[in-house]
Amino acid sequence: MGFLKNRHLLGLADVSAEETATILETAFSFREVLDRPIRKVPTLQGKTVVNLFFESSTRTRISFELAQKRLSADTVNFSSDTSSLMKGESFKDTAQNIEAMKVDCIVIRHPVPGAPVHLTRYVKAVVINAGDGTHEHPTQALLDMMTLQEKFGEIKGLNVAIIGDIAHSRVARSNIIGLNRMGASVTLCGPPTLMPLGIEELGVRIDYDLDQVLDWADAINVLRIQRERHGVCFIPSIREYRDLFGITRERLGRLDKQVTIMHPGPMNRGVEIDSDVADSDNAIILDQVLNGVAVRMSILYLLLGDQPG
């Protein structure tokens, strides 16, 4: 049994503030491991983890895989394009087959929201959500919070803005839930067509004026923007988007303060964010990547590690 209330990490919606603090604290101690010359501990020796990726994501998969290897777990990767799957039946079949091979943990990335919840119905293994459709991406939000904590000392009281395609972003949802729980204020900024209905009920503010938002924010999380999704145009043009919501050097230059910049990647340089902004000293984007490994080590350890005594 692990150290958290729930057996699985399906989303941040069911992780308390106290647990979040534990996860982050543990992640910081694993960060030290990553800075050692031999970056490996025997913590999860003998445990087997399967990375089940139904949607391609090289970054997240490598980050999880590294975390598992640093903890000495045995790792297997399974990736499949969902279009080659015969939908429902084989989702269950795949799950049960993997379960039959006796694994301790399944890290799942899936394009359908709720798929990790669904998986828990068919397997006994611990399930970690590595992103499910537009629902949640809890480890991403945790690594974002860890990076903010590293930069600012604490999350409580921070003003964080999330900018861009909120409607299709699992990163935004997990961030909103996590940041709120840890006492930060969150403002969303982006075109109204990409603002999901009722999101204010999650305890956030919406502001369509980016300059005003930048004025207010200590840190901003910039989301990847795509003009079309499922054949529907949500914004008239990239030019207009950049004009209204692009994080440009010029825009930041007008402020009389520094704003910390995050991006979950992959970035469209020159679209939602200027290249030189992404590479500037205010950007903590590469710290996010490094902290991602530490946060995933923390989660794996807290869910799979053996309780002392």
Partner: protein, 438 residues
């Protein structure tokens, strides 16, 4: 379920009789001869001379008209693995339904007089009355009208492309116009496909939380508003199935105020669940149109009370376990509903202080009158269609009790109030297992 032929002379004594036509509830007796109503009253005259009378004491039981469902999917022909006319009939009896209208979205769809006759002939010997609803358009492709007059002659009681919305307003206009001479309603599954988009559930805070693509309420009400205006323009009869939003109901109210021939139904699941119940990603709660918000649910209850919505209909939609085991986005829409209907509806409506008579009207005479069926089943000489039930019984809907071929019900494990105990229809008596036993 145990079934046996109805004795030639059958006297039911000590029953709590609910007469939805005369709006009366009284203790009394019912005498049946050759499967037909001879007399109903506090005390009935039994003609002893004509033979042996089987008497039954119905102490503590309520009896009323057999229920009527004007919206079910029995999947035959084509998807007999999900449901057949035979298995669907058993499911109907399990829910107290003695008359069921089946939707035409079978494979092939019921879009010719021959296919209507196929259903009528196949249903002739079944234990419940089954009436086919014909497709509005050939192959349900939304373009060319079917041979509606010939289909009515063969037994079609209404027309619908249910499951597929009629998106072309011109076709709806022609269908409403053409059927003015036939006296049957056009039923349009109102969901604007473009507004629905990739939607999987009601659009609102819950779709936002769960990350499931939303279906806005306006995708329904926009089409309802178009259709009721076309009903006014053509003078045709329009029936709006499975209403789910307050705004749709307002358009129906508007139509009724103008005395248009517009009627509407609501499904038990839209009265029982809200979109918050989808938080477990239960694919059995994936239906079209979707389960809406608590505010919509309350509005629907009020519309049923004030008559804006005429009746209840189950939208019984069987799917295989395999199909429903898929991740949410990939699962088909629909749930079975016949067997859970009464217990679910009465739980909701008794909680909203409806009387038992009002509730019974919504599943007996109201739907029957919409489709031109006999409404007074207590009239002398009428074939007996009776249902016996215990309105106070609190029970849990369980898998073992299901008679349908499918099991896709979100009501499994849910609390019900009111249990159907026995059904008399088409010369047979069917005893249902009591709640809790298998």
């Amino acid at each position: 379920m145990q079934s046996r032929p109805l004795p030639r002379l059958y006297l039911i004594r000590n029953a709590n009789i609910i007469d939805p036509v005369r709006e009366k509830e009284f203790g009394g007796e019912i005498f049946l001869k050759n499967g037909r109503i001879v007399e109903i009253g506090k005390k009935v005259q039994v003609e002893e001379s004509s033979g042996k009378v089987e008497e039954v004491d119905a102490e503590g039981r309520y009896v009323t008209h057999g229920f009527c469902d004007i919206h079910a999917h029995f999947r035959e022909p084509g998807r007999e693995d999900k449901e057949t006319l035979v298995s669907g009939s058993r499911a109907a009896l399990g829910g107290g339904f003695t008359t069921v209208c089946v939707m035409p979205n079978t494979d092939p769809p019921l879009d010719t007089p021959e296919l209507i006759r196929f259903i009528v002939e196949k249903a002739a010997d079944l234990p419940v009355n089954i009436h086919p609803i014909g497709a509005v358009t050939r192959n349900q492709d939304g373009e060319e009208l079917t041979e509606m007059a010939a289909m009515v002659r063969e037994g079609a009681v209404a027309f619908s492309d249910d499951g597929i919305p009629l998106k072309d307003g011109g076709v709806v206009r022609r269908a409403l116009e053409y059927t003015t001479s036939l006296g049957v309603p056009i039923i349009n599954h109102s969901e604007d496909p473009q507004l629905k988009g990739e939607g999987q559930m009601n659009e609102g805070v819950w779709s936002t939380r769960l990350g499931l693509a939303g279906i806005p309420g306006v995708s329904e009400s926009a089409m309802v508003s178009r259709d009721v205006q076309l009903a006014e323009f053509t003078g045709g009869r329009l029936h709006v199935p499975h209403v789910t939003t307050r705004e749709s109901a307002e358009w129906i109210r508007w139509a009724k105020e103008r005395q248009l021939k517009v009627t509407a139904e609501v499904a038990p699941h839209h009265l029982y669940f809200t979109d918050a119940d989808l938080s477990t990603y239960d694919t059995n709660l994936k239906v079209a149109p979707p389960i809406r918000s608590e505010a919509d649910r309350q509005a629907l209850i009020e519309c049923l009370r004030d008559g804006t919505v005429d009746c209840l209909a189950t939208d019984h939609s069987p799917h295989t376990v395999e199909e429903k085991e898929a991740p949410f986005d990939w699962a088909p829409c629909g749930m079975i509903g016949l067997e859970s209907a009464f217990g679910a509806i009465w739980k909701v409506l008794s909680g909203a202080s409806f009387s038992l008579i009002e509730m019974v009207q919504k599943i007996t005479i109201n739907p029957r009158s919409l489709f031109g069926f006999e409404t007074d089943l207590f009239r002398k000489g009428t074939p007996a269609e009776l249902v016996f039930f215990d309105p106070e019984k609190e029970w849990t809907f369980s898998r073992e009790q299901i008679q349908s071929k499918s099991r896709n019900s979100p009501f499994l494990g849910k609390g019900m109030r009111g249990k159907v105990l026995q059904v008399i229809a088409r010369g047979m008596i069917h005893d249902l297992p009591p709640a809790g036993s298998l």
